[in-house]
């Protein structure tokens, strides 16, 4: 029977395709969260594999903090267009204007503020399901996630009372107002994602490869220096996230390993020009992927607390 054999990537792929088709079949108004990051790039290919030659039967949704890497936005918009998908973007700034969210005094990062924006978008479009690219190997609280993760009408996750998930029988039932977050990449590791990108020859935003960039040292990480504040009629969106006079600023050859926004993404010094270089670097890495995410460093339960509140 050796000819009937799937390697680990083929196994993970067929599992993820099955999950995506369950979503298309069981939900009335699903959406796919697409940020342009490496995990959601894999989601798009899996959606193509699950649904072609038909259209991908769900719009793409992205929540912007307003601090995004411009390269990522360009890539996101282009990919959505190439795939013929509808892209819905909701931003933290719009949410401020509408009073859905409010700036946190003394807090520059808008990571937390993505939560009310996402929940408002789910309500606005009556989405009953959102597919995300989160993986269990990223973080301890995520290690406890189900493929189909139920959220109540407040968008909350209750980790102590999750629906058991048995065989490949996913319980997709929700009442009006409730919704499901679905994670087809649950069983993928960071290495699997890169190996899949290589195997499928997927394009990734160029900030994953080494480039020259001005960075400054903060909290044990090299953070990118934000773009200059040019429009004097508006407050600087990066106020508080710019290097202080005493901070070490240097031009370095670096890349991102994981992408949040510019405020919470640590750059790693690296000389990688190809996907193979990245795979080599990941296999030799001595810190986890989210070790470069400032948003996870807040406390040991940082992710758990955000997920309970409705984070993805």
């Amino acid at each position: 029977m050796s000819s009937y054999h799937l390697d680990h990537l083929q196994y993970l792929e067929t599992e993820a395709i099955h999950v995506m088709r369950e979503v298309a079949a069981e939900f009335e108004r699903p959406a796919l969260l697409f940020s342009g990051g490496k995990d959601s790039i894999c989601l798009l290919r899996l959606a193509e594999k699950a649904f072609r030659p038909s259209d991908i039967p769900m719009p793409f949704l992205n929540v912007e903090t307003g601090h995004e890497f411009p390269e990522l936005i360009e890539f996101r918009d282009r990919r959505a267009k190439e795939l013929g998908a509808k892209l819905i973007v909701r931003t933290v700034d719009e949410a401020f204007a509408k009073g859905i969210a409010h700036p946190t005094p003394g807090q520059v990062s808008r990571n937390q503020l993505q939560i009310p924006v996402l929940l408002a978008a789910i309500e606005e479009f009556q989405f009953d399901c959102a597919i995300g690219g989160a993986r269990r190997d990223e973080e301890k609280a995520r290690a406890k996630e189900r493929f189909f993760s139920f959220r109540d009408s407040f968008g909350q996750w209750d980790p102590k009372n999750q629906r058991p998930e048995i065989w490949n029988l996913y319980n997709a039932r929700v009442n009006p107002g409730e919704n499901m977050r679905v994670f087809p990449l649950s069983n993928w590791t960071e290495m699997d994602v890169w190996e899949y990108i290589k195997k499928e020859k997927l394009e990734v935003p160029n900030i994953y490869f080494s480039h020259e960039r001005e960075c400054y040292r903060k909290g044990g990480q090299w953070l990118p220096v934000p773009p200059p504040h040019t429009d004097a009629t508006k407050p600087d969106p990066y106020a508080g996230a710019r290097p202080k006079p005493n901070d070490t600023v240097k031009k370095m050859i670096c890349r991102v390993r994981t992408i949040a926004d510019m405020i919470s993404t640590g750059m790693i010094e690296s000389k990688t020009e190809t996907i193979d270089d990245i795979i080599g670097e990941v296999s030799a890495a001595r810190v986890t992927e989210r070790g470069t995410r400032a948003d996870d460093k807040a406390s040991e339960a940082a992710m758990e607390d955000r997920k309970k509140a409705g984070y993805f």
Partner: protein, 439 residues
């Protein structure tokens, strides 16, 4: 620096045992000793050791991810871990030992190739050992490892190890038996026989735990028996990406068992219509054949009315078809099973209404005998039930097919998953009145 240029197999396993048997410690040890931990994880571990562990690194903190778990020092929910060696990739489900969380063990074990049951060498076989071994057998997990842990606390005595081994070998036949059982003496805390051989067990000639996980034969764990293809999604493009596909009508799904070939005759159930597989379509091109568990889109010779929940099968070894079903069910909710109450039943890709008409018995885990169930099952009970469904199911017995022989019960209103069911073999194969499709 390995970049896995050769195909690598994936082994899924789960760990189970009683509270404090050291399950999380064992997984922590596997990760630690196989150098699968990263610096920031070790750093976080050391940080929490200073605060709560009196300075000693607590390997269990690696998998106990939720705040309540760290506070109470227990594992509440299934935690999934991933690691790789140059030989294999592993998905580990760390499943809890507390009796009230048995449902999570079922969750973690249902998709596993292998189960590790931990036994505390000092306590020997207890109810939880029997329960977990029973569940692993019931779920049809192909490989079992009994890890006799804390051997350091019984001075590495071979007699103690053999005593536990004989007791388990004594009740295994009652469970229907495993194809493959391994017994290992280990100390998860000190790492003996986990990744490296112990110097305390000269009498033990088997592999280390990791050595066994890396080499146990799993290639034939998938079901290459009769062909079963539950239709998941009807693929009918409005604007096909390729204009030659304007009349494309495909049936998308994941092969639950067996192999399908282009040109092969198949039967669509429950309609009972015989037709031919015209094409096995995938995004990467058409296939001459496809096998379990591949996902594919089948195009059939005839334009038949087929929808989600139908099943396409081979001509040989037809499944059963009935709305009166016998099954064993593991109850997973604090609200006990009620006969006469309507539940949703999800089987393959369809959901139907169902009523439990009788609870015939349940398992007593001390004796592994069946006992009177008094018409109900409480949380964590496993018993034999009769069900009537609003629409007949096309199914196989769980023992021959894990995917077409299993179902979940969902409570109406709350939508909670309350039961996991394994179907008894059909009394007879369905006999479709074949209507060869004629236009």
């Amino acid at each position: 620096m390995s970049t896995h240029s050769h195909p690598i197999e994936l082994l899924r396993f789960n760990t189970c045992g009683s509270v404090d048997d050291g399950k999380s410690t064992l997984i922590g040890r596997l990760l630690y000793d196989s150098k699968s931990l990263m610096e920031d994880q070790v750093e976080a571990l050391e940080k929490s050791a200073d605060i709560t562990g009196g300075g000693q690194i607590n390997l269990a903190n690696l998998t106990d991810g939720l705040r309540a778990e760290r506070e109470q020092g227990i594992t509440i929910d299934v935690a999934y871990r991933y690691f790789a060696t140059p030989k294999r990739k592993f998905i580990v489900a760390d499943t809890p030992g507390h009796v009230q969380y048995t449902r999570n063990m079922v969750t973690g074990a249902s998709s596993a190739n292998l189960s590790i049951v931990l036994v505390d060498a000092r306590l020997g076989v207890i109810e939880q050992t029997r329960r977990h071994t029973y569940i692993a057998t019931l779920l049809g997990i192909p490989h079992l490892v009994i890890a006799v842990n804390k051997m350091d606390l019984v001075e590495w005595k071979e007699e103690r190890f053999q005593e536990i081994r004989s007791e388990i070998e004594g009740f295994l036949p009652k469970l229907g038996g495993f194809r493959d059982v391994k017994f290992l003496p280990v100390s998860a805390l000190n790492g003996d026989n986990v990744v490296d051989f112990s110097k305390h067990t000269p009498w033990y000639e088997g592999p280390t735990l990791l050595g066994h996980l890396e080499t146990v034969h799993i290639a034939s764990d998938w079901n290459y028996g009769a062909f079963r293809f539950p239709v998941q999604w009807v693929n009918r493009p409005n604007n096909p990406t390729d204009h030659s596909l304007h009349d494309f009508r495909g049936l998308s799904g994941q092969i639950a068992s067996g192999v399908v070939r282009k040109g092969q005759q198949v039967v669509v159930l429950p309609a009972g219509i015989k037709t031919t597989v015209k094409d096995i379509w995938t995004y990467d091109g058409s296939l001459a054949e496809a096998f379990c568990p591949q996902s594919a889109t089948l195009c059939l010779e005839h334009d038949i009315d087929i929808s989600r929940g139908d099943m396409i099968v081979g001509l040989e070894n037809l499944p059963g078809r009935s709305s009166e079903l016998s099954a064993r069910v593991c109850w997973m909710n604090p609200r006990p099973l009620q006969t006469g109450k309507k539940y949703f039943l999800k089987h393959t890709t369809q959901t139907v209404q169902a009523v439990v008409t009788a609870v015939e018995n349940k398992i007593n885990f001390d004796t592994l005998e069946t006992v009177e169930a008094a018409g109900t099952l409480a949380m964590n009970d496993i018993g034999a039930i009769k069900i009537r469904t609003a629409k007949p199911l096309v199914f196989d017995g769980y023992a021959t097919n894990r995917l077409t022989g299993s179902f979940i019960l969902i409570e109406q209103g709350t939508n909670l998953t309350v039961g996991a069911g394994m179907l008894a073999p059909p009394l007879e194969a369905c006999k479709p009145e074949y209507s060869d499709f004629a236009i």
